[in-house]
C-alpha cells in the first residue's frame, strides 16, 4: 500500500462517521466559492453602470433618461454576494472545526487505547520519547493540518478553479493574460520550496549535533567545573555554532523567500493585468464604461487567483507533516496486541505450585537468554533468585505474568499453562513490585489505590501502614490527598518503593514477584523497605530477585542463575555444602567485613 493510501485510509477511518457533516460543509464551500467569484462581477457592473450614467448624464441627448438604478442594483448584488460568501464560509468553517477537534480527539484516544493493548515487548524495544512524540507532535500536526490546511486546501482549490472559469467566461484574452505567469510562479515556488527543504535537512543535522553537544556539556557541567574544562568546552563549542549558522542561513533564506516571492509575483501579475487590460480596453472598441468595469473585474480576479497559490504553498508543509504523522500512527495501529485465550480459565487460588518447565526464552529468536530452565515454588513458599547481572533473573520475572511468552516449555500455575488462563484473572492473582517504582501524577491516595480503585479509606491506610509509609504521608500537609508526580521530589527513591509496595499490598495478590532494589537509599529507609518486604511476602507464594543476604537466607529455596541456566538450587546450607558458585558468592561478596 502506498504511503498516501495509508494516510487516506487512516483519515477515512476516523472521518467516516462525519460524512453527513462533511458533505454539508462541502456544499457550503461550493456555495461560498460561487458567491465569492460572482461578487467582483457586480463591482465591475456597478462601475460600468456608474460610467454609463455619467456618459448619459453629460450627454444632452440622454441627460433626461440617465438613471442610477442599475448602479444601485449592482452595489446591492455585490454586498449580497460577499455577505453570502462569508456566511457560507463561516457555517462550513464552524462545522469543519468541530469535526477536526472531535476526530483528532478520537485519534488521540484511539492511539492511547491501542497502546494499552499492545505487548510489553513493543515498549521494551521502542524509546518512550519516540512513542510519546506521536502524542506531542504527530497528533498535534494532524490537528493543526485539519484546522488550517486540509479544508483550506479544498476551498482554495475550488476558488482557484472557479476564478479560472469566471475569467474565461468574461474575456478569454484577459484570462490568458492573467494565468500566463502561473507556470513561472509555480516553477519558482517549487524551486524555492525544494531548496528550502534540502537545506532544512542539513540544518537539522547541524542543529542536532549542536544540541547534542550543548546537552552533554551542560548536563556534565559539574565535571566541566571540577576538572576545569571551561576553556576547552568553549573552544569545542565554536565549530558547532559556526556550522549551524552556515547551514541554517541557506534554509532560512529560501523559506524566507517564499512569502515575498508569492506576494511579489501577485503584485507583478496584477500590474501585467492592468497594463494589458487597459490596452485591450482602449483598442478593442468597447465602450469606456464597459471596459472600465471589465478591467476592475480582472484586477479583482487576478488578486483572487493568486490567493490560492500562495495559500496552498503556505499550508503545504503542514499538510505534509499530517500525512507522515498519520503514517506513523498507522504503523502503531497494526502492531500486535496481547493475546488473551478465547475461553481462558479464570484462575482460582494457588493450591499447589507455580513452575517453569523446561523454559527456553529469548527477547529475539537469535539470542536465547534462558536455556531449559526448571524452577518450581510450592504454594506459600518463597524462592530467591540469585545470580550475576545478565544471568536472566529479570527475564524469569517477565514470563510469570506474561509480559512475554516463552519460546519453548511452559510456565504453569497449579499445572495450568499461564497462556490458557484469562489474562486479567492471571494478573489479578500475580502481584509485582518492580525495582523501579513508578508514580502517577495524581494524589497519593489514587496512587496507592491504583490497582484497586474502589478500596476503602481504611484498607488504603492499612496497606500504607504495612508498607511503613503511613507516618510519612500523614506528616505531609495534605496527607493522602497530596498531589505527586514522578518528577517532583516529595518522595525519595526509597519512599517511592515503599509506596509501590503499599500499592501491591492493597490488591493482596496470591502470588508475588519482587525485585529488591540496590539503589542508593539511606540506612533508615532501607530498614523500612526490608520490613515492608517481609510484611508483603509473609504467607504468600513468591519469587524474589534477591540482593540482600537476609532475604536469601529467609528463602525456602535459593535458585542460582548464571548465563541463563540454573546452575544450583537448594537451601542455603545445601548450597554452601556444595561449595560451588553460590558458596563463592556468599564468601566473597556478601559477608560483612
Amino acid at each position: 500500500m502506498s504511503d498516501l493510501m495509508i494516510s487516506i485510509r487512516y483519515f477515512g477511518a476516523y472521518l467516516k462517521r462525519y460524512w453527513l457533516g462533511l458533505s454539508f460543509a462541502l456544499v457550503l464551500m461550493v456555495l461560498s466559492t460561487y458567491a465569492q467569484i460572482n461578487a467582483p462581477l457586480y463591482m465591475g457592473k456597478a462601475i460600468t453602470a456608474l460610467g454609463q450614467f455619467l456618459n448619459d448624464y453629460f450627454n444632452p441627448v440622454t441627460h433626461a433618461t440617465a438613471s442610477k438604478g442599475k448602479f444601485y442594483d449592482a452595489v446591492w448584488g455585490m454586498v449580497w454576494f460577499y455577505g453570502l460568501a462569508e456566511v457560507a464560509m463561516v457555517t462550513s468553517g464552524l462545522m469543519t472545526s468541530r469535526i477536526s477537534a472531535q476526530s483528532s480527539g478520537q485519534m488521540r484516544i484511539g492511539l492511547f487505547a491501542k497502546l494499552q493493548r499492545m505487548t510489553v515487548r513493543y515498549f521494551d524495544t521502542h524509546q518512550d520519547g519516540k512513542i510519546l512524540s506521536l502524542f506531542t507532535s504527530d497528533l498535534d500536526n494532524i490537528f493543526n493540518a485539519m484546522n488550517q490546511a486540509i479544508f483550506q486546501m479544498v476551498s482554495q482549490a475550488m476558488l482557484f478553479i472557479g476564478v479560472i472559469i469566471m475569467m474565461f467566461n468574461q474575456s478569454a484574452t484577459l484570462a490568458w493574460v492573467t494565468v500566463a505567469l502561473t507556470p513561472v510562479a509555480l516553477l519558482l515556488d517549487f524551486f524555492v520550496i525544494t531548496r528550502a527543504r534540502k537545506y532544512i535537512d542539513r540544518q537539522q543535522e547541524a542543529t542536532g549535533a549542536l544540541n547534542g553537544y550543548i546537552n552533554e556539556q551542560i548536563n556534565g557541567e559539574k565535571v566541566v567545573i571540577t576538572e576545569g574544562l571551561q576553556d576547552e568546552s568553549i573552544k569545542n563549542f565554536k565549530p558547532y555554532n559556526e556550522s549551524v549558522k552556515k547551514a541554517t542561513y541557506r534554509g532560512q533564506m529560501y523559506s524566507g523567500m517564499l512569502f515575498p516571492l508569492t506576494q511579489g509575483l501577485s503584485l507583478l501579475n496584477v500590474a501585467i493585468v492592468i497594463f494589458f487590460g487597459s490596452w485591450f480596453v482602449l483598442h478593442n472598441g468597447m465602450s469606456r464604461a464597459a471596459g472600465l468595469g471589465l478591467l476592475i473585474v480582472f484586477v479583482n480576479y487576478s488578486q483572487q487567483y493568486y490567493q490560492p497559490i500562495s495559500q496552498i504553498t503556505s499550508v503545504y508543509n503542514s499538510f505534509q507533516l499530517a500525512l507522515t504523522g498519520s503514517q506513523r500512527l498507522h504503523r502503531i495501529e497494526v502492531q500486535p496486541e496481547e493475546t488473551n485465550p478465547g475461553k481462558g480459565h479464570p484462575l482460582a487460588d494457588i493450591r499447589q505450585q507455580v513452575a517453569l518447565d523446561d523454559v527456553t526464552f529469548g527477547y529475539n529468536p537469535d539470542k536465547i537468554i534462558l536455556h531449559d530452565v526448571n524452577i518450581d515454588v510450592k504454594a506459600g513458599q518463597m524462592v530467591a533468585l540469585v545470580g550475576p547481572t545478565g544471568s536472566g533473573k529479570t527475564t524469569v520475572m517477565n514470563l510469570l505474568n506474561r509480559f512475554y511468552d516463552v519460546n519453548h516449555g511452559r510456565v504453569t500455575i497449579d499445572g495450568v499453562d499461564v497462556r490458557d488462563v484469562d489474562l486479567a484473572s492471571l494478573r489479578d492473582h500475580v502481584g509485582i513490585v518492580l525495582q523501579e517504582s513508578i508514580l502517577f501524577s495524581r494524589t497519593i491516595a489514587e496512587n496507592i489505590k491504583f490497582g484497586k480503585p474502589d478500596a476503602s479509606e481504611a484498607e488504603m491506610v492499612a496497606a500504607a501502614k504495612q508498607a511503613n509509609i503511613h507516618d510519612y504521608i500523614e506528616s505531609l500537609p495534605d496527607g493522602y490527598q497530596t498531589m505527586v508526580s514522578d518528577e517532583n521530589s516529595i518522595f525519595s527513591t526509597g519512599q517511592k518503593q515503599l509506596l509501590s509496595i503499599a500499592r501491591t499490598i492493597l490488591t493482596s495478590p496470591e502470588f508475588l514477584i519482587l525485585d529488591e532494589a540496590t539503589s542508593n537509599v539511606d540506612t533508615v529507609t532501607e530498614a523500612k523497605i526490608q520490613a515492608a518486604m517481609n510484611n508483603i511476602i509473609a504467607g504468600r507464594t513468591s519469587f524474589v530477585i534477591a540482593h540482600r543476604l537476609k532475604t536469601i537466607l529467609d528463602a525456602d529455596k535459593i535458585v542460582v542463575l548464571k548465563d541463563g541456566r540454573v546452575i544450583e538450587q537448594g537451601t542455603h546450607e545445601q548450597l554452601l555444602a556444595e561449595n560451588g558458585f553460590y558458596a563463592d558468592l556468599y564468601h566473597n561478596q556478601m559477608v560483612f567485613e
Binding site: A46, L50, G51, F71, V75, E86, V87, M89, S97, S100, I109, F112, R117, V120, F123, F135, N147, T207, L210, I214, N215, I218, E221, K222, V223, I225, T226, E227, I234, F237, N241, K245, T248, Y249, Q252, M253, G256, F259, L267, I272, I274, W279, V281, R288, L292, V299, G431, I438, F450, G451, P453, R503, V521, D522, T523, L549, L553, N588, M590, F592
Partner: protein
Amino acid sequence: MQILIRHAKNYVRDITIAILAVAVMAGATLWQPHLLQKVISAILADDSSQVLEFGIQLVVIALLGVAAGLLNAVFAARISQSMAADIRAEEYDKIQTFSFGNIETFSAGNLVVRMTNDVNQVQQLIMMILQSLLRIPILFIGAVVLAIVTIPRFWWLVVIMIIAILLSSQGIFKRMGKNFFKIQNLIDQNNTLAKENLQGVRVVKSFNQEGAEIDRFTDNTDELVAVNTKIGYLFTIMIPIFMVVSYLIIGAAILLVGQNIVKNPKDLAAIAPFTTYLMQILFALMIGGMVSTFASRGMVSLGRINQVLKTKPDVVYDPKAPKEKLSGDINFDHVSFTYPGDDQPALRDVSFKIQAGEMIGIVGATGSGKSTLAQLIPRLYDPTQGTVSVGHVNLKQVNQQSLRQAVSIVLQKAVLFSGSIARNLRHGKPDASEQDMQWATEISQAAEFIDGYEDGFEHYVDERSANLSGGQKQRLSIARGVIGHPKILILDDSTSALDARSEKLVQEALDKELKGTTAVVIAEKISSVIHADRIFVLDAGQLVATGSHQELLGNSPVYREIYLTQKAKEEPNE
C-alpha cells in the same frame, strides 16, 4: 531588547539594506493602486500614451518589489543567523563561568532549553522583525494615508473601519487568550498521562488497569476537544467578521461615490484604488495581530536568555592570585553553608583540620551534609559563613588552576563525555601519557575491562555513556580523578555501583599508589571507610564525632546506630 540592539551593532550595514529593501517592497505594494487610478483616469480620458506610460511604470515597480522582497529575505536570513549564533556563543561563554550553585538554580535541563529552543525563537523573532514587523507599519500607515488622499472626504469611513476591526478583534483575542491558557494545561495533562502510562506500562498491565487508564485519558481528551472546538469556532468567525466589516465599508463607499458622482465625476477612477487600500489596511491589521503574537513568544525567550546573561557567577576566583603548589592540608574554620533558596543550613558550624596524607571517611544519614562538606573543599560552593582553606590558603584567595591541580573530586554521579576513553581520562590531566592512563585505570580497576577492548583507550564512549555499565562509568571516573596525582582526592560515594570485591581492590590500590595523597571518602556503607585514619560522623549538618572506627564505636551513639543497622542487615542472626 537590549541584547538585540547590542548584537545588532555589528550588522548595521546589512540591517540598513534589509530595511531599505522592505521599504521598497511595501512602497511598491502601496503605489500600485495609485497607478491603477492613473491608468483608469487615462482610459477615461482616452489617452493611449499615458496608459502605456503608467502601464510600464506598474510593471517596473512590481518587478522592483519582487527583487526587493527577495533581497530582504537574503539579508534577513543572514542577519538573524549571525545574531543568533552570536547570542548563543555569548550565552555559552556565560554558562561556562557558572558555579554549581548557578547551575542548580537554573537546572541543567533548563539551561539547555535556554541555549537551544530559546535561541531559535529569538532567531525567528529577528527574522520576523526584519521581514514583517517593519513592513506592516509602513503598509498600514501608507494605506491609510493613500486611501484618504484618494478620496479625502471619506476619511471617516477609513477611521470607522479601523475602529470596528480593532474592537471586534479585541473581543475575540481576549476570549482566545483564556482558552489558549486552558488548552496548554490540558495538553500538558494529556501528555503526562501518556508519558506515565508508557513508563509504567508494566504497572498498568500487572494491575489490570488498562481500562481505567483509557477512561481517564478519554475524560481528559474530551475536555481538550471541547476547548479545541471553542478555539476553532473563534478562529473561524474571526476573519469573516473582519471581511464583513470591510465589505460593508466598501459597499458604503461605492454607494456614496455613486450618489455624488455628478459633482465629482473623477471619483469613478478612485473606487478601485480606494477599495484596494481598504483591503490593504485590513490585511495589515490582521497580519500585524498574528505577527505580534509570534513576536511576544520570541520576547519571552529573549527574556529567558537575558536572565542567564545577567546572572552573576556566585563563585569568583581572584584573577591576580599567584599560582602555587598547594599541600594536602585541609582546614575548616566554623563553616556553615545554606543552599540558595533553602531555609535550613546544610552544614552548621563545622570545624576540623586534616593533615596532608590522611585518609578521612565521612559517614552519616542521607541529607546529613556529607556531599556538601566534600564539595566545599574544591570550592564548588563558597561557605555562607566561616572559611575553608586548602594547603593553608583561604579558598577565596586561591588561584583557580592551582586549586584544580591540587584537589580532585569524583562525584557521586559518574559523568563521562562522548569520545574516546583516552579523551575522557585526559580531562583529568591534559598531557597524560599511555602509561599514566594505564596506571590510573589499574588503580580504579577499569584496566580489566578496557583490556578487553581491541582498541583499548581509543574505545569510544557513546553519548550518555550508553555503552558502559554503572560500575564501568564509576571506575573510569575514578581513573580520571586520580590520573593527575592530586594532593587531595575526594570520593563522593563513588564506588556505589561496584561490587564488594572490586571496591576493596580499588581501596587497596589507592592506599598503595597514592600514599602522600589526602583522601576524603564519603560512603553509605561503613565497610568502605572502616580503615580510614579518622572517620567524621555528620548528623543534620553538624560534625558530631571524629575518630577511628573502634573509638567511634565506643563513644558515638550515632555511629554505633549506623553500624548496627548495617551489620544486622548483612549478618544474619544465626
